[in-house]
């Protein structure tokens, strides 16, 4: 059986990243939990993904052929040596859900994710400031239409409702004031092609279009500009709580969907309190909040309490099988796979973001999830699968059906399964008798049995959980 340290490390890597190969997992476990957390929250200790390799294979990375941009992101999820940096980018993408559907302008969406990658662990104040200056967001929520004397409230409202405080913590007047404060925050586009030309956009502050009248926002009065509004928001207890719930839902355990938060209490109020405390202790530094989160007991005790998002499932399967370690002709298939499972990266359905947890699962998406995982696990030559077969072979003596099953569950996760799944898999293993990969006559059949067992395990309900 797996040591608890190994299982806990695997849990941390599933949540703070996208899983790990067995080799990575053992190295991480040897590092020790607290030190590993420090490595994760300090991604700059490790090299970045070399995008020039990708560029050689995929061409212009900001191009618009198919879903290249989503494929590149999945590659990064699998290969980044800075897993938390990539995971925070996905987290903020969930929270600040911006869809490429409206703009048809992938370069801006790609740029936004790069920004999340860059500032994802910094202070919430800085993150919200970057968000407000982000051309993809400006366009998505119409802040380019937010003019002096003719405010458009879309961004001001969602900034409060979905990106920081949550409904019930501000008034309609605050929304109007926030909108006025962000007048003049727009973007420029070098070429005016339909819809905007595939050239990067950049933030522009138009002084002459900014409403510099006196505004009262959440009790503060003055000639408030956007950054003043963000300062005020970042200091609100409601903001700390709202972000804490988002973090809990994304990193710890599934919560109800965001619109329910104003009525449904948190699943673990003490955990939320601890994260709020960490937020204020650190001046809203996400790096510190994440350190507290990963080191907490509530996190360590939350194994398999979240349903994997499609991106987590796809990247996690690749960590297991060793696929996509190098730019891969199937890259677009991987992007299509998450889309078929209900998560088209860079294109969340609404500004509310994806509904998570159980809502990932319906007949169509479960079918896709199971078939993707089973399909990926069918190749005995893939490095991850081959490594598992080799490990089982190195055990020397033939394995009893129970040993065979336990070793496989360990090597896939370690994965904990319920009684029904265990019985079903054991029954299957027993039908083949002992597994002997070292007897020449049985090697090929034995490899087939291992493959089948891996396919069945990744098809299980338990495998859907992170």
């Amino acid at each position: 059986m797996a040591s608890d340290n190994l299982a806990l490390t695997a849990h941390l890597m599933r949540r703070a990243g996208f899983g790990s190969t067995r080799g990575e997992l053992e190295a991480h476990a040897a590092r020790g939990y607290a030190d590993l957390v420090e490595d994760l929250v300090n991604p700059e200790r490790f090299p970045e993904v070399e995008e020039d390799v990708l560029e050689r294979y995929y061409g212009w990375l900001e191009g618009v052929q198919g879903q290249v941009w989503a494929a590149v992101w999945i590659y990064r999820m699998v290969n980044s040596q800075r897993p938390l940096e990539e995971k925070m980018a996905l987290f903020w993408h969930h929270v600040f859900a911006t869809g490429v559907s409206k703009s048809d302008h992938p370069p801006s969406s790609i740029q936004q994710i790069k920004t999340f990658r860059r500032v994802g662990l910094s202070s919430l104040r800085e993150i919200l400031l970057e968000l407000s200056r982000d051309p993809a967001m400006v366009f998505w929520l119409d802040n380019n239409e937010n003019r002096k004397g003719a405010p458009n409230e879309n961004y001001g409202r969602e900034l409060l409702e979905l990106f920081s405080m949550g409904v019930g913590n501000y008034s309609e007047t605050d929304v109007k004031m926030a909108a006025r404060a962000f007048t003049g925050w727009t973007f420029a586009q070098p070429l005016g092609l339909y819809p905007y030309g595939f050239y990067p956009s950049r933030f522009v502050y138009r002084e002459e279009d900014h409403d510099d009248g006196v505004k009262t926002f959440l009790g503060s009065e003055g000639n408030l500009n956007g950054h003043d509004v963000i300062d005020i928001i970042a200091g609100q207890p409601a903001t700390a709580r709202f972000i804490a719930r988002h973090l809990y839902n994304f990193f710890v355990a599934d919560e109800p969907q965001v619109p329910a938060w104003s009525v449904a209490p948190p699943r673990d109020p003490e955990a939320i309190d601890a994260l709020v405390q960490a937020y204020f202790d650190s001046g809203g530094e996400m790096r510190s909040v994440m350190r507290v989160l990963f080191n907490s007991d509530f996190f360590k005790e939350s194994r398999f309490k979240r349903i994997k998002s499609p991106a987590e499932l796809v990247a996690g399967v690749m960590k297991l099988t060793g696929a996509n370690r190098f730019p891969d002709t199937r890259a677009l298939d991987y992007a299509d796979a998450t889309a078929a499972m209900g998560q088209q990266l860079l294109n969340p359905p609404t500004v509310e973001g994806w509904h998570t947890g159980m809502e990932w699962i319906d007949g169509g998406t479960l079918n896709e999830r199971v078939n993707f995982a089973v399909g990926q696990a069918q190749d005995a030559a893939s490095p991850g699968v081959k490594a598992i077969i080799d490990r089982l072979a190195r055990e020397g003596a033939p394995l009893s059906p129970k040993e065979f099953l336990d070793r496989c569950l360990d090597l896939v996760g370690p994965l904990t399964v319920g009684e029904e799944t265990r019985d079903a898999l054991l029954r299957h293993a027993s039908a083949g008798g002992d597994l002997d990969l070292n007897a020449d006559a049985q090697r090929e059949a034995g490899e087939g049995r291992v493959l089948r067992m891996l396919q069945l395990i990744v098809a299980s309900r338990e495998y859907q959980f992170a």
């Binding site: 409206k102 159980m358 078939n371 319920g418 009684e419 079903a424 098809a459």
Partner: protein, 377 residues
């Protein structure tokens, strides 16, 4: 299996990418058309005329044939205000009936919820093609989504001879947990078992299917053949969804569009002949739509995203003919100086299908009361 009577069945066919309606039903008598389309037009001498103003694309002969038989209602100038030119967004709008805000529930799924309120038949709605179009997705509405009928189901990558055992293990693994209800686990169990039930039911479709109709080898022919096979297996499916891609003809439109219309109209003809051969077509109506029409002027090689396209309602129960109005072609009447004007809202066409064909109250499904046409009276 007992024949489930003649409940009306709807087949939705989505042309993805934005079909060029002007080159599908060509206004061959209009000088404005040829002025706007110096390169990407169909010669008047080649069209298949249906009257002295309009004619089908020459490669859509089977569709013209069905039209002549009175089985095709052409909905001219379909659209909605402030038509969106993004494929994703426009398709979302068609899928959710929400042009002004972002919707999450599909109109087909809402209809399925009315047809099968307790979700008793996992095959009440069957969608063919990769992924689940948002039109058929809504929380709590089971939809069966197939890439390929032969290979439908879970564990399809397991070798044939071992697949039975794999499915058996799958079923056991998804048995509801004995250790008390945990909602996420329960949802997974239920969904997994629903998928298996769907597989079991669908297995009969290819096994029992016999036909003299030979469909062509292209995606829409394959899709409609799958629809026919499932429909003929009498599994209680009320709405089918199928897709034909490639209509985004910005460049080199003429040969591409010709091929697509040939594939589409041939497949529709084969589909109805197949159903007719089995005496099973009378209760089937098809709605063919696309997310937007294309720009009036060509770009020298193809056409860019536009608005105001066309839709087709096809079937033995349809009263064929032209419905709504062909978009005005005089440049002074162009929408925003470059686009086709719509004369009927797409939600009115959905309402037509829902109310007059399926017998459902369309208002809650499409989000309001919209003017309908009368292609079934």
């Amino acid at each position: 299996m007992k024949r489930k009577g003649k409940e009306p069945v709807l087949v939705v066919t989505q042309l993805s990418g934005g079909n060029d309606f002007m080159n599908t039903l060509v206004p061959y008598a209009s000088g404005h058309y040829y002025d706007a389309r110096p390169t990407v037009s169909i010669d008047a001498g080649e069209v298949l005329p249906i009257n002295d103003a309009l004619g089908f694309h020459p490669n859509a002969a089977p569709l013209k044939e069905l039209y002549d038989l009175g089985k095709v209602a052409v909905v001219q100038g379909i659209g909605y205000p402030n038509s969106n030119r993004s494929h994703f967004r426009a398709m979302d709008i068609w899928h959710t009936c929400e042009p002004d805000k972002v919707g999450t529930e599909g109109w087909v799924a809402r209809a399925v919820r009315e047809l099968d309120p307790h979700g008793e038949n996992v095959l009440a709605c069957v969608s063919f093609g990769k992924g689940l179009p948002r039109a058929v997705a809504a929380p709590g509405v089971p939809v069966t989504s197939l890439g390929d009928l032969e290979r439908y189901g879970v564990m399809t990558d397991v070798a044939e001879e071992e697949r039975g055992e794999a499915l058996d293990v799958f079923k056991r693994m998804y048995t509801p947990a004995s250790t008390g209800p945990e909602p996420a686990m329960e949802r997974l169990s239920q969904t997994g078992l629903d998928v298996l039930r769907g597989i079991d039911l669908l297995k009969t479709a290819p096994e029992t299917y016999r036909s003299n109709v030979e469909y062509a080898a292209n995606p829409i022919a394959k899709g409609l053949r799958d629809v026919a096979r499932v429909h003929l297996a009498d599994l209680g499916t009320r709405i089918f969804y199928t897709q034909h891609g490639g209509y985004d003809t910005h460049a080199n439109e003429l040969p591409t569009h010709q091929r697509l219309l040939g594939e589409l109209s041939g497949a529709i003809m084969d589909f109805y002949q197949d159903l007719e051969e089995h005496g099973a077509g009378d209760n089937v109506a098809m709605l063919v739509f696309t997310e937007f029409g294309r720009r009036i002027r060509d770009n020298g090689s193809g056409t860019d995203h536009g608005s105001g396209g066309g839709a087709f309602i096809i079937g033995p129960g349809v009263k064929g003919g032209l419905y709504a109005e062909y978009p005005p072609l005089a440049p002074s009447r162009w929408l925003n100086g470059e686009d086709l004007r719509h004369s009927i809202d797409f939600r009115g066409v959905y309402s037509t299908m829902l109310e007059q064909w399926m017998g459902l109250d369309p208002v809650p499904i499409v989000g309001g009361a919209f003017e309908q046409i009368r292609p079934f009276s």
